[in-house]
């Protein structure tokens, strides 16, 4: 294998891990509450601005911006849950699309109003020079984002499967009434899920900001990828999102390199539709 | 023979929910399917209605192989059903619910409405025709499902635990309703775990256990069958049953 092709695959894996990272919050909400959060991309956008603010305020890098963005976004997540989502999730699916789409516009253009339309970026020297392995180069921000992406998705998975909080949240998602009879307050668990999901999204956004531009409409660019990743991997499955993210990253990179960048979307969407047709529950979703 | 299942097997992976079951339903009879939870009777039932396609074996209706037909195709041939957990059309009125069934044989809305109103009267929901299906309680919903199925003018009606969740008084009313349906010449297949229902309604009973048929005969025969008592009823229930009360 030529070293360039190897570099293409490495690059694909890195961006794929990032896709997984910013999709895991979406899949959590989707799987646990059966709510499509159309504002997910705008949550990422808010986290990116948070990182930018942290840097302009006191020059803080990811070490400061990641935890701050996680807390800020978790708060926004809980607020969204109590003020909006709690009320629309029992309604028809259309109300959820309508409500979260409205929320997306509200967040996007509030950011627009506050920060202006200009693109912002963090200095590219924030995290030091790229790592060089032979002929393969891995830039530090992406490596950090990819690594933390793996850690966050794995931790989310462990929280869901190995902790009391996780099993309670799953109990609520399986059967809220039964869970209530067992003394679990569904609203608390759902709020916790939103906090967790939005917090993970906060981490994702703060990390993406280190190598991507930030603008009020950046969420749109990212959201579609997140939707496809989540549906591809299986709604609600965090490991599914990880697998799908990595796959999409590599497929995009290799097809863009070998066939042409304009066709990478064609290939990813076609694959996605094929997966839906043959395996509607996604790669790792429950049947 | 109206409806016949031959050597039906339904496997989910390695697990066989129904294992080589053969059951025939005669025209005009009331057949009971019983068995403990997980015995495979619901799976078997769903193979008859077309909700599931068996892994192997065949289903014949009026001599015709319907194994691969969809539920809607079977409904058109005259197989109707109710659901264990009622699946009423929640956004519609009782009348509209029943009209969905009536539309199968009456394509014009007016004719379907007439048919539906007639059936609604028969099942005793007359006063509630305009009420929303959502407003009904469990007995009402079960009755609505039966009305809906009847409006499709079936030859055979399959009732999936139509009495579950009802009070004894409601059960007695429901049994009367089923008898009345039977008198109209509709063949019935009843899945039940309430013995009283089976004993008072069924001409013949087939008992399932772990996916296999373990006994068949009249209700009194199977309730005396050792295998059935051991596998399913348990001694306590058997004693209760012979006492004749519940």
């Amino acid at each position: 294998m030529s070293s360039i092709l190897l570099q293409v695959i490495v690059s694909g894996l890195l961006i794929g891990a990032v896709y997984a990272l910013f999709s895991s919050g979406l899949t959590l909400i989707w799987g646990m509450m059966n709510v499509i959060n159309f504002a997910h991309g705008d949550f990422v956008m808010l986290a990116m601005y948070t990182a930018f603010l942290v840097w302009t305020a006191f020059g803080g890098g990811p070490a400061a911006s990641v935890p701050i963005a996680a807390v800020v976004l978790a708060t926004i997540g809980v607020l969204s849950y109590f003020l909006l989502v709690r009320h629309i999730m029992r309604g028809p699916m259309l109300a959820q699309i309508m409500g979260t789409f409205g929320l997306a516009l509200l967040l996007r253009y509030s950011a627009f109003w506050y920060f202006g339309a200009n693109f912002k970026t963090l200095p590219d020297t924030l995290l030091g020079p790229p790592f060089v392995f032979g002929s393969i180069r891995v830039d530090a921000p992406r490596l950090l984002a990819g690594t933390i992406g793996l850690i966050v998705t794995l931790s989310l998975h462990l929280i869901l499967t190995r902790t009391a909080l996780g099993s309670r949240m799953l109990a609520v998602s399986e059967d809220a009434t039964a869970a209530q009879l067992m003394g679990i307050r569904p609203e608390h668990m759902q709020a916790a899920a939103w906090a967790l999901a939005a917090g993970a999204t906060g981490i994702a956004g703060a990390l993406i900001a280190t190598f991507f531009y930030t603008s009020p409409t950046v969420g749109e660019t990212l959201a579609i990828v997140a939707f496809v990743t989540v549906a591809f991997g299986g709604f609600g499955s965090v490991p599914g999102a990880l697998l799908a993210g990595l796959l999409i990253g590599v497929i995009e990179a290799v097809s863009a390199f070998m066939i042409g960048p304009v066709y990478k979307d064609v290939i990813v969407y076609t694959l996605f539709v094929l997966v839906l047709w043959t395996r509607p529950q996604g790669l790792m979703g429950k049947a | 023979m109206l409806l016949k299942a031959s050597q039906l097997t339904m496997a989910f992976g390695a697990f066989k929910a129904v294992d080589d079951a053969s059951v025939a339903v005669n025209e005009g009879e009331v057949l009971g399917l019983i068995g403990p939870n997980g015995a495979g009777k619901s799976t078997f039932f769903n193979c008859l209605t077309g909700d599931l396609h068996p892994t192997s074996g065949t289903v014949h209706f009026e001599g015709r192989d319907v194994t691969r037909l969809t539920p809607e195709q079977r409904a058109r041939l005259g197989i109707a059903r109710t659901f264990q957990v009622p699946l009423t059309f929640e956004s519609m009125s009782v009348l509209d619910n029943v009209m969905i069934g009536a539309f199968l044989r009456h394509h014009a809305a007016a004719a379907a409405r007439d048919k539906a109103l007639e059936v609604i009267g028969e099942v005793g929901l007359g006063g509630a025709a305009e009420a929303s299906a959502k407003s009904l309680g469990t007995p009402g919903r079960k009755r609505l499902e039966i009305a809906r199925a009847l409006a499709s003018e079936p030859k055979v009606l399959l009732l999936d635990e139509a009495m579950a969740g009802l009070t004894p008084a409601e059960i007695r009313a429901a049994i009367d309703l089923v008898r009345q349906i039977h008198r109209r010449g509709i063949t019935l297949v009843i899945v039940e775990h309430i013995m009283e229902v089976i004993v008072s309604l069924a001409d013949r009973v087939v008992v399932f256990h772990q996916g296999r048929e373990i006994a068949r005969g009249t209700p009194s025969e199977v309730t005396r069958n050792e295998l059935v008592i051991e596998a399913y009823l348990g001694k306590r229930h058997a004693a209760k049953l012979s006492g004749g009360t519940t």
Binding site: L94, Q96, M98, G102, A104, R108, V273 | E72, L95
Partner: protein, 326 residues
């Protein structure tokens, strides 16, 4: 009395609206825009509202109509309106192709599949030179004959759109009252129960999808005729799909007049807030727009019209024929 007077009043208002605002070309045009959006949303309503299959990819059909109208002009010099039937045909055909596999999917999976297919189509159209590729295609900039339907005033558009909308609503009303309408609602509530009663759910969903697609193409063709331009984003972009859905949902999905009510609220809101706030360039238009959508979703999740159907007796519109009034 009131029940009879109200529809008459609304009908008269609809017919006279361009005269009532004759002093303002902008408000005449606003009327036409409301009707155009209502046409699209009503078309979507057939599959998304009545049958409950939430398509987020109707832009494909909208684009088919819009592109057919203008490609017919650009390639063969046809008047755009002549391309409309071709667009409708293409949309129905494409709907059949997309529908057969995707309508098997349920709930969110269907929605996701429609998004993906629509994005796929958008990317393909972007790379399709015959359709103008990324640059899009323009209609006749200067009308050659009246058949080009290129008017300075919005009033002719208003009446064309009104006639189309009334036809679509009449057709929808007929369907609503018929077996198909009942079946679609049954499928929405419980596909499994519907099938057990002999409803060929797959076929009816496909019919509704194809019909909805064809009517959406009409909306697309009318859009292209009025605006005289379409490119991949304005023809097949995801925003087109979402707007149709939001409009129907806001008024009341699955209700005859739901989409129209949604359009009556959202289109003026969009236009007026853009006129008042857009020039300031602070994005306030969309803050207002988003906030209102959120508030309606929060307090009226089934749409504005649910407010009235909830207050009325539980009697369904199905019982309006006097001979059967109980």
């Amino acid at each position: 009395m009131m029940r009879r007077a109200l529809p008459l009043l609304i009908g008269a208002l609809a017919l006279l609206y361009p005269l009532l605002v004759s002093g303002s070309a902008v408000y005449q045009r606003l009327g036409a825009l409301v009707l155009l959006s209502a046409i699209g949303a009503s078309a979507w309503n057939l599959i998304g509202g009545y049958a409950g299959q939430v398509s987020v990819g109707h832009a494909v059909f909208f684009g088919a109509g819009a592109y057919a109208a203008l490609a017919g002009y650009a390639q063969f010099g046809m008047p755009p309106i002549a391309g409309a039937p071709i667009g409708v045909g293409v949309a129905i055909l494409v709907a059949a192709l997309i529908g057969v596999p995707t309508l098997r999917l349920s709930g969110h999976y269907f929605s996701m599949a429609t998004i993906a297919v629509a994005e796929l189509v958008r990317v393909l159209v972007t790379n399709w030179e015959w359709l103008g590729g990324a640059q899009g295609i323009s209609g006749p900039a200067i009308p050659r004959t009246v058949l080009d339907l290129s008017f300075t005033s919005a009033v002719p558009y208003y009446y064309i759109f009104l006639a189309v909308l009334v036809s679509i609503l009449f057709m929808t009303w007929r369907i609503e009252k018929s077996r198909m309408g009942f079946y679609l609602r049954a499928i929405k509530d419980s596909e499994r129960a519907a099938r057990s009663l002999g409803v060929a759910a797959g076929r009816y969903k496909l019919y509704a999808y194809m019909l909805s697609a064809g009517l959406t193409a009409v909306a697309g063709a009318l859009y292209a005729i009025m605006f005289g331009f379409v490119d991949p984003e304005s023809g097949c972009g995801i925003l087109i799909s979402v707007k149709m859905l939001i409009m129907a949902a806001l008024g009341g999905a699955g209700l005859l007049f739901g989409p129209l009510v949604g359009a009556l609220i959202l289109v003026p809101l969009e236009e007026i807030s853009n006129s008042l706030l857009g020039g300031k360039g602070a994005g306030l238009t969309f803050v207002v727009y988003g906030a209102i959508i959120v508030v309606i979703a929060r307090f009226l999740p089934s749409g504005l019209l649910a407010l009235f159907t909830g207050l009325r007796s539980p009697r369904k519109p199905s019982a309006t024929e006097p001979s059967h009034a109980a």
